[in-house]
Structures are given as C-alpha cells and as structure tokens.
C-alpha cells in the first residue's frame, strides 16, 4: 500500500448548517512533505482534526495506514496543533518523560539535543517560558518522534522570521525519508522550497493536488503565485 492517508467522501457539517468539508477525496503518499494550503475557513484544520481523531466526521472515512483514527494511528502520527497544548504546571523534563512514556517512537535524546541547541533549560516550568519558547518546546516534542506521519497545523504562523527558519530546519532534519509531513499554512512563500506536493483546498473541497514541480513546469509560476491566482478574492 503506497498511500499513507486515504480520505474518501469525507464530509463534516457543524451544527447541521455549516459545511466544513464537502465530500472530500484525497490520498497522501509516503515519504513526502505535503502542503495543505487554503485560505482561512477552507477546512484545513477540520481535516487535520479528523485525521487526529479529534473530530468525528459527519460522513465518509479517513484512513491512516489503513486504520480509522484511534489508538493505533495515534501511536504513529505526531501532531502539532495550532495552539499550545502543554500543561503549564509541568517542567520541560517532565514533558519529555510524558512523551517517552506514551509514544514508543519518541526519542528523548533528540529532544534534549534540540533543547540544548536552543538554550532551553529542561528544568524550566512551561508557565515560566515565553509564548514563542513554549511553541518551540512543543515543536521539539512533536519532531522528536520517529512517526509515520507528522501533521503540523500552521507551524510557522505567529512566530518571528528567525524562529520560522528554525522550525523549517527542524522539520527537514528530523523526519526520515519514509515518513510524510502534512503541514497546513497560508504562509506559502516561507515553506515552498521544502514542499514536494501541495493540496489546495477551498470550501472543504480539494481544488488541486500536484507536485511542486508540476505547478512550476505546467503553470510557469511558483506555488505562492499560483495560490494567489487560484484563491484571488
């Protein structure tokens, strides 16, 4: 089975009136960095939440490694949400122990290396860290796993350009070639160079799935320029 993620007829309707995903079908291959791109409210986060088992779809299925979201998929998916989920009373080293306890693929030594390189003290409590540092700790924890699928929801939104570079470097250096990174963003120009494929999503429906090369060759544009054209208001 070459596809890692297989989404079919996925529909999500909130409160019986707001359709976030509309009969969505897509597949995501292994070993790629895939950009899930779309304007605000296009359904990116809803799709990501369903893949992580944080939402139940109204209709359709989302399979990872052939499994519905559940304990088996969660053991193989490393998820970075767009918000900080760390318990503020915990120390960084306690979080490392927490991740090591629950995720067999978590590599504490890798996390410690990254923390050291960023000058973050393991003994610090999360509540004493700045918002930016908390986000970095979270990214380090997420990227210190040998997961099959990394799902990163807006990983570079709201951080300064230097941190942005660090995040992108971390993503590239910490995932293995058999793993897939699915990252959603609307800051396309910053991550375009690391993407293998893109999925454009609009009103809960994918309007394009192509490799970055295909877009550049066939459209004669960068992904960012093409995105602006497709989603022009």
């Amino acid at each position: 089975m070459s596809e890692l993620v297989n989404v079919s007829n996925l529909t999500m309707v909130y409160d019986k009136k707001k359709t976030a995903l509309d009969n969505l079908n897509l597949t995501i291959p292994r070993g790629k960095i895939v950009g899930l791109l779309g304007p605000n409210g296009s359904g990116k986060t809803t799709l990501i939440k369903i893949l992580n088992g944080l939402l139940c779809p109204t209709k359709g299925t989302a399979l990872i490694n052939g499994n519905q979201p559940g304990p088996e998929t969660k053991a193989r998916v490393s998820y970075l949400p767009e918000r900080t989920y760390l318990q503020t009373g915990m120390k960084v080293k306690e979080l490392i122990a927490y991740f090591a306890d629950f995720y067999e693929d978590f590599r504490p030594e890798r996390a410690r290396e990254m923390l050291t390189s960023l000058g973050i003290d393991e003994n610090d409590r999360i509540k004493t860290l700045s918002k930016g540092t908390r986000e970095k700790v979270q990214l380090i924890l997420v990227m210190s796993r040998d997961a099959d699928l990394f799902i990163l929801d807006e990983p570079i939104a709201g951080v300064d350009p230097a941190a942005r570079d660090y995040i992108i470097k971390t993503i590239i250096t910490n995932y293995n070639e058999n793993a897939t990174v699915l990252l959603s963003t609307h800051l396309i120009s910053d991550i375009e160079n690391i993407l293998d494929e893109v999925i454009f999503i609009k009103n809960g429906t994918p309007v394009l799935q192509a490799t970055v090369e295909e877009i550049r060759e066939q459209k004669g544009k960068s992904v960012d320029a093409y995105f602006r054209e497709v989603f022009a208001c």
Binding site: K49, G53, L54, P71, K74, Y85, L86, Y98
Partner: protein, 271 residues
C-alpha cells in the same frame, strides 16, 4: 497504558488536595485547642467572639475541603479533556475507556481521601474537646463508648453488621455517583455549542435533580412504613431503602459512564 495514564494523572493532581487536607488538619488541631481554656466562662466578650471565629474557620475549612477537592479535580478534568490541553490528551495512543478511567480513579480516590481527612479532622477536634472538657468526670474512651452507645440506641441499630454493610454500600455508591456526575456533567456540557461550561453546570443540576427524584421515589414506601409501623428501630425500617439508594447511584453511574464514553468517542469537538 492505563497504568501510565494513572501515574501521570496522580503525579499532576496530588499536591493541591494534599495541601487542602493538610491545612484542614492543622486548623482542626488549632480549633481543638480552643477547649483548653473555658473562655466562654470568661467575662471578656472578645475572647468568646474569637472562639466563635475559630470554630467558624474550622467549619468553613471542612466545607472548603469537601467542595475544594471536588472542584479542583473537576476543573482539572475539564481543562485536561476539553480545552487546549485536550489536543494532547486526545492524541495519546489510548482508548476513550482508558482516558475516562484514568480520570475517574484518582477523582474517586481523592473523594475517599478527602472524606477520610474530614473524619480524621472531626475526630481530632472531638477528641481534643473531650480530652479538655472531660464531661462528667469520664475518661476519653469512656466518653466515646458512651456516645457511640447512645447513637446506636437512638437510631435503633439492632444489627451492627447490617448497619456497616449498608453504610459501606451507600458510601461506595456515593463515591461512584459523585465522580460520574462530575465527569458526566462536564462531558455532556461539551454538546452545548458555544456555552459548554454553562451546559456542564446545567447538566450537573439536571442529573442531580433526576437522581434526587428517583431516590426520593424509592424512599417513599419506607417513609410510609416508618410513619405507620410502631417501631423503635428507625434504622431497621429504613435499611432496605439504603440498598435501593445505592443501587440507584450505581445504575446512574453506569449510565453516565457509557454516555460520557460515547460522547468522547463519537461527539468530541475541541474548539
């Protein structure tokens, strides 16, 4: 995985309840010392007022512990499961059953520990009072035995074993239902669009009302019996109703457990 969940839950949650119970025990000793000198016989009104203040502090400390521990664990459950922290909790490779048990077991355990803490505190306060006042020239143990015998006689307890078993059944069922009402109400509240906290509070009062109604309905026949039968044993008449009450609590807890598990598995929607 449940073991690991329990370990982390316990590590994260033990401090506040321990501090609360510790403070109560210190206050109970402090309040017990008020019996050392019979200040109520003093002509200085300020001293008597101070005494009342200390007893009130002790009273509120007991209320504070019983409510505080439940409230702290309820807030922790809500934050951990349904706010930003839920993004980590619900992406751990565990089942919804394991998640629920990992929250319910420490919650129930702390309910029991807090109850024991309150009983110990009352015992400290009572023993100090008896020790200092020495009623009717009796020793501490003589006084306790006398009071226990009086209570047994007043309640008409003829069978101590039955009394013990019925109290244990009601106690266990009470801990289960108290825990599940908290967990269930917070979880049901998540179904209420943008007003989830209000929904949880509403669900709590709703469940409580239903439970009280059912329990009262079950108690009515026994109340009639007590009113029309001439008996000295109030406990003897009411005892079967305690078991029914315990059964109602347990049934409600089981229903709430499965409703909560279903909501987490099928209706989870973190904002």
């Amino acid at each position: 995985m449940l073991k690991k969940l329990l370990k982390h839950e316990w590590e994260a949650s033990w401090k506040i309840p321990t501090i609360l119970i510790g403070v109560l025990l210190v206050i109970s000793v402090f309040a017990g010392f008020t019996f050392a000198a019979p200040v109520w016989e003093s002509e200085m009104h300020g001293l008597a007022f101070l005494l009342v203040l200390v007893w009130m502090l002790y009273y509120f400390a007991i209320i504070g512990v019983s409510i505080g521990v439940v409230l702290y664990l309820a807030i922790r459950f809500y934050k951990n499961m349904y706010t930003d922290e839920g993004y980590l909790t619900h992406t751990l490779p565990v089942t919804s059953h394991q998640l629920l048990w990992s929250k319910m077991i420490p919650m129930a355990a702390w309910n029991v520990i807090a109850t024991v803490g309150i009983l110990v505190s009352v015992a400290i306060f009572g023993l100090m009072a008896i020790g200092f006042l020495q009623p009717e020239g009796m020793g501490i143990w003589e006084t306790i035995t006398y009071m226990a015998e009086e209570m047994v006689a007043d309640l008409g307890i003829e069978n101590m074993a039955a009394f013990g078993i019925s109290m244990l059944a009601v106690g266990i069922a009470g801990v289960c239902s108290g825990t599940m009402m908290t967990v269930g109400a917070i979880t049901i509240g998540q179904l209420v669009g943008k007003h989830k906290i209000l929904g949880s509070i509403g669900a709590y009062f709703g469940i409580n009302t239903v439970m009280q109604f059912v329990v009262s309905a079950c108690m009515i026949p026994f109340m009639f019996n007590m009113a029309y039968e001439e008996t000295d044993s109030v406990f003897g008449v009411l005892m079967p109703s305690y078991f029914i009450m315990a059964a109602v609590y347990i049934v409600l807890s089981v229903v709430l457990y499965f409703v909560s598990e279903w909501i987490i598995r099928k209706k989870l929607n973190l904002d």
